[in-house]
Amino acid sequence: MILAELQGITKSYAGVPVLRGVDFAVRTGEIHALLGGNGAGKSTLMKILSGLVAPTAGQVLIGGRRLLSSQPQAAHASGLYLVPQETHLFAHRTVLENVAMGMPLPPRAYAARVAELARGLGVDLPLGARGATLEVADRQIVEILRGLLREARVLVFDEPTSALTPHEAGALFDRMRALREAGVGQVFISHKLHELRAVSDRITVLRDGMVVLSGPMARFSDESILAAMSPGLAAGAATRSVPPGGTGEALRLDGVSGEGFSDVSLALAPGEVLGLAGVVGAGRTELAETLVGLRPLAAGTVRLAGAPRPAAWSPRRAAEAGLVLLAEDRQRHGLFLEAANAVNLSSLMVHRLPLLLRPRREASRFEEYRRSLGIRCTGPWQAVGRLSGGNQQKVLLAKCLAVGPRVLILDEPTRGVDAAARQDIYGLIERLAASGTAVLLISSDFDEIVRLSHRIAVMAGGRLAGELPAGASPESIAALAFGAATAGRGVAAHV
């Protein structure tokens, strides 16, 4: 039985079509995978289904009845809930209030149920903690709990696993299977094909705002799905990068300690990609932010190309010295979402530009990167917040590259990015390394680490847990990342 249906949905923003006549349906007891490339329109389609965005043409049917008003309340009343890709938390409210806000009873009535659902996901989340204090992964858990608590008949998950560990993702999939048994219809958006295959019954692939493939999951091979998503992509997969040719040290850390990590020693040669693996909370982001001067350095020495880091340090000085960080959370720390593409591009080097900016020079600089990185947008003056996740990430990368870094720290460079853009970014990282840039690659995706790194360091519980050579298996990385996390707990308990 069809629970929710989209018929002939068309949506345009400022005359640019995002969706073109899309049909889509969710049935009872079915998990429907929705896949698509950069800006293919997946998120927009689901926002239309849940009443957050009004379609330009076409209609939304939930339980056979047409959804007239484009308001989330109407969709909720008909039993549909969307777990959005971007987390939206109430900073001043507790976790419990964040989850239960808008439910028919006061939050405390749901305390036991929310705690039970969280445990079911294998997460020990303090229900009294305020929203503002949560890290990315916990914020995502809160969004998921909101969806589970509402016991909707149709539940949409838009990239629910992008910040989760494999354990948590696995627990979520168990939960989704249980919901399927209970007859709930689910939509599952993810860029990770193996995740989609693990739970989905049916798949629909969008490309350029149109359905290019749809049917039972088992009927399609990975190759045919990837080919439908972006023709000409499947061929270039899994090429091992070359070992570094450069010598000397681009970056060296000796016994570096700071907020959230301690006693980290690493060396990085020009042209080398050093993978820094670990689970969320291992202290990698804190280390990266300390290196560029966003957090104070408590102990240890940092050398850039042999020269000790001066005491006065800031992201701008770091950039001048050739050290740049690509921030983990592009929405919160990476981009000025309301500002234009060209403005974002020059935001890290604006102090080098003339007092009066030359718009044409800015625009042409952006056009260079737009071509070389394949950024899809309407032009240099479009607000970066209007781009899709993958294209936003490319603009963020371009911003880092524009200052000509010799050491580039990439913190989760492909989070929330589709498979095609991911390939583009991998290619770019390889080209950068080949041209002599040293890259410190922070990622929780161990396949990604193995795919790109010349050497792999693993962090757990704020310490370096070990180092592995190129080609180490994702399992051996996971053993270090998770195994040492327990040891790290003993250490932390004494702090």
Partner: protein, 330 residues
């Protein structure tokens, strides 16, 4: 214990205010009497009503700077009705309705037409004051009837009927904001997108907050007229900014989502107590603004420092928890 005190803005401000009053009591014997405190309360009423009206608006991450003009216009409607021979109750009702209408118009501009609240209410700040001047011909309204003034006269416990009504209103607002639906008001200002995703009636909540602000401004106008017995054509001018200052003092965030009725009350009483104390210490009146401004800045700077330090401690604790708790859970 000390840390809990520091974390609670209302309690710590109460402590500062109490300490300041105690020092004043020592410097100027006779200050700390029931009579002085009673006069602080009654001179705080107008500001308090305006602040209680503004609180929900700030909670939704909007602002309303037209409060002083709404106060003036509704007081003028009240005064003109009374002097035209209308009874006390219908005149008060007309005045309150005027305020409500003004507030809802603000809401319509912001919610319906999408005008940023600072722009919309700056516009109506002039508009409502202008309407008042046209209605009164620019003249003061005098000779208000005795039964209106009686509402502001001290009654039982040294509190006037209007004072009692204000206490009831504050308590009612505190209770309303604590309910399940009342929590939605702060939720809208905390994260509008989250509120939309969870299906809260965001626009209706915002519009109602503006309507409430107008209604409270009208009540402030009623108190103003009853207390001084006439209505000058600049009645209420500038009070809206003092109300914002009092709320900020009381820990209400201008960025929405955070603030309490208790904070609003303490902020207003503190600001008013400073004024009263200056009179008591025979400081020339033209010093008032300077000293009140310096006190406001001093408290906010100190509070900001304390809050930064607490946030740093929280962050450190979270990192420790992060390693011990989150990874350990796996």
């Amino acid at each position: 214990m000390f840390e809990r005190l520091l974390r609670n803005r209302v309690l710590s401000l109460l402590l500062v205010a109490g300490g300041a009053l105690a020092v004043l009591g020592l410097l100027a014997p006779g200050f700390l009497t029931a009579a002085t405190l009673g006069s602080v309360w009654s001179s705080a009423l107008v500001l308090l009503l305006l602040s209680l009206g503004l609180l929900p608006v700030l909670l939704t991450r909007n602002i309303d700077v037209s409060g002083g003009s709404m106060l003036g216009l509704s007081a003028a409607v009240l005064g003109l009705s009374l002097n035209a021979g209308l009874g006390l109750a219908p005149s008060i009702a007309l005045g309150l309705l005027t305020g409500l209408g003004c507030g809802l118009l603000n809401g319509l501009l912001v919610v319906g037409l999408g005008v940023p609240s600072i722009v919309a209410t700056l516009g109506t700040l002039g508009l409502y004051r202008g309407l008042m001047l046209i209605a009164t011909g620019g003249r003061w309204i005098e000779n208000l009837p005795q039964d209106l003034k009686a509402l502001a006269a001290r009654g039982a416990l040294g509190i006037s009927p209007l004072g009692l009504a204000t206490i009831a209103l504050a308590a009612g607002l505190a209770l309303a904001l604590a309910t399940r639906r009342g929590q939605w008001v702060a939720a809208v200002g905390d994260n509008r997108e989250a509120a939309r995703h969870l299906g809260l009636p965001v626009r209706r909540i915002e519009a109602l907050a503006f309507g409430w602000s107008g209604l409270c401004a009208a009540a402030a106008g009623l108190v103003y007229a009853a207390q001084i017995g006439f209505i000058p054509n600049q009645a209420g001018t500038g009070t809206e900014l003092r109300a914002i200052a009092a709320l900020v003092l009381g820990g209400v965030s201008l960025l929405g989502g955070s603030g309490t009725v208790a904070g609003a009350v303490v902020g207003v009483v503190f600001l008013t107590a400073v004024d009263t104390a200056l009179v008591f210490l025979r400081v020339p009146a033209y010093w008032n603004d300077l000293i009140a401004g310096a006190v406001l800045l001093g408290v906010l700077l100190l509070d900001g420092r304390v809050r930064l330090a607490l946030a740093a401690r929280d962050r450190a604790a979270r990192l420790r928890h992060g390693h011990a708790g989150r990874d350990g859970a796996r």
